[in-house]
């Protein structure tokens, strides 16, 4: 930064009441301010203030979880913008997609980013799972967060699947037809599945009918998938993301060789020890808190 600009900022911007009301700490030039920068920012404080060096290496984390979240945000932003130009009706949907290409400024870029981002997100989520498995990071105490992660992976696929129908072209309609045909075969609940006669299921009252809003992929399906894609599934996903991120921190932060020590931390014996009971000797040393 040029020293002139820096002088200007130092004199006329940083000391102002507005600046100081937003950034309630000094410049991050010393450890205290760097800590405060992370701690006093709602987004950055997803991170701990300090972390072991290996956790900052790309070869350890592959950055797949973070990239998945970034792509989730890309999908949200481009998705909101796309919603301004889209009607989820069988007569209008295809025309709206065409007008994105020919009428809307940067409409095609918007749609491309949304589609490629979605494909990429499926990959990053899969490789996030692969990394977490290969480092054994699902082990105690992170079992539950792994389970949440599996649900998030499933939801990511479902998000991508529901979005696939919305362009309402041949590709969309038939991919969804093939995909939802599986629902015919659900045991008990699909009309072609084993034991479906026990519940008296027909093509017009089984689980596939509930998903499609009809016996074939049509206008009502488009509306259902639109609501699922834009409102219902993102709603569930946001909750699970919150739990996923929260639990990373609560389960001891980024996984690492120190996790084994953390896993030995048995809360019950700790409480008993605090009450002066005999089990004291079995209590493992809690990890150093920084």
């Amino acid at each position: 930064m040029s020293s002139k600009l820096q002088d200007f900022l130092e004199k006329h911007v940083y000391p102002t009441q507005i600046w100081q009301s937003i950034f309630r700490h000094g410049k991050p030039i010393n450890d205290r301010n760097r800590s405060l920068a992370v701690l006093s920012n709602v987004f950055l404080h997803l991170h701990p203030i300090r972390l072991p060096r290996y956790a900052t290496k790309y070869t350890y984390t592959w950055g797949m979880g973070g990239m998945s979240f970034l792509l989730f945000l890309v999908e949200t932003v481009t998705g909101i913008l796309l919603m301004f130009y889209y009607h989820p009706t069988a007569t209008q949907a295809y025309i709206d997609i065409k007008s994105l290409e020919f009428d809307v400024p940067f409409g095609m870029l918007l749609r491309n980013m949304h589609r490629w981002g979605a494909h990429l997100m499926v990959l990053t989520v899969w490789f996030h799972m692969f990394r977490v498995f290969m480092t054994g990071s699902y082990k105690k105490p992170r079992e539950f967060n792994w389970a949440i992660g599996v649900l998030l992976l499933t939801i990511t696929l479902f998000m991508s699947f529901t979005g696939y129908l919305l362009p309402w072209d041949q590709l969309a309609m038939w991919a969804i037809t093939v995909g939802t045909n599986m629902a015919r075969a659900v045991p008990f609940l699909g009309h072609e599945g084993p034991f479906s006669n026990l519940l008296g299921l027909r093509i017009d009252n089984d689980i596939r009918f509930a998903l499609l809003g009809g016996t074939t992929v049509g206008g009502p399906t488009l509306l259902r998938f639109y609501v699922l894609h834009c409102i219902a599934v993102p709603f569930v996903m946001s909750f699970l993301l919150a739990v996923h991120f929260w639990r990373i921190r609560k389960d001891g932060g980024i996984s690492g060789p120190q996790s084994a020590r953390l896993a030995n931390l048995n809360k019950v014996t700790q409480v008993k020890a605090a009450l002066g009971k005999k089990e004291e000797s079995t209590v493992a040393q809690p990890p150093k808190t920084e």
């Binding site: 060096r53 900052t56 490789f127 054994g136 992170r142 084994a260």
Partner: protein, 297 residues
Amino acid sequence: MFRWEFFLEIIKKPDNIPIILLIIALIVYTWIALYKAFDNDKRLAEGRPVWEAEPHNQEKVHTWPHLLNIEFIAAIILMAGLTLWSVFLNAPLEEPANPGVTPNPSKAPWYFLGLQEMLVYFDPWIAGVLMPTIIIIGLMAIPYIDTNPKGNGYYCWKDRKFAISVFMFGWFLWMILIVQGTILRGPGWNFFWPGEYWDVHKVVPLVNVNLYELLNIDPKTFWLIREMPALILLGLYFLLIPYIVSKIYRKFYEDLGFARYTVTMILLLLLMSLPIKMILRWTLNLKYILVTPWFNI
């Protein structure tokens, strides 16, 4: 015969680009994971700490700037890459949806093609419903059945041979099925070699037979008697194999306990059932092992 133009026609479909990324990522990240795993194995064998536990790497550093720097750079690269991809390659848009015209082949989105490929070998209620449910539940169950305390939070191979082998087997099976479903399955879901012309008129004779037909049992026999060999085979598969394995690998069984061992074996046998059915189809043209009035396996 291999013809580049036919091969490229399939590869260059915009929605198949993720498959190419997938193949590249599989090679790169499998290599990284195994390289680091073997490196750590060597360190442990020499009595040194694993890479992650080295004093230098255990040192605490500030999130600002050490982590935020690399996150920022990763974000920039990702966004730049995604933007370039979106500028130069348009998302596909075919003719308007028309329920009267069925494209051939009709394919699900690429990430579900593993499931669609399974339909060749299993009925829809298994391939499309049971297997996905088992995959999801099985993945969620991993931390609760893998009680091995070693290998927690660092790459390794020797300490987790069984867990890593099983996971990698399932992972690569899934990926191979997706790649196969995308590139090698053409009209009528028939198999086409890479670079082969996707002929919609290709006729593949259906010569698959059920197990009782292979054994020359009269199809009109009461089904419970007709299917006795199948029931015995399935019984042996799901009961005898776990029993024998528990006797041979007594320590493995005792470490897990009855409940965990049972769940592990059921998941493992279900995972193996797919390649087994695939091989039986290729070698014996086997359609169903078990045929009942309600469902077939």
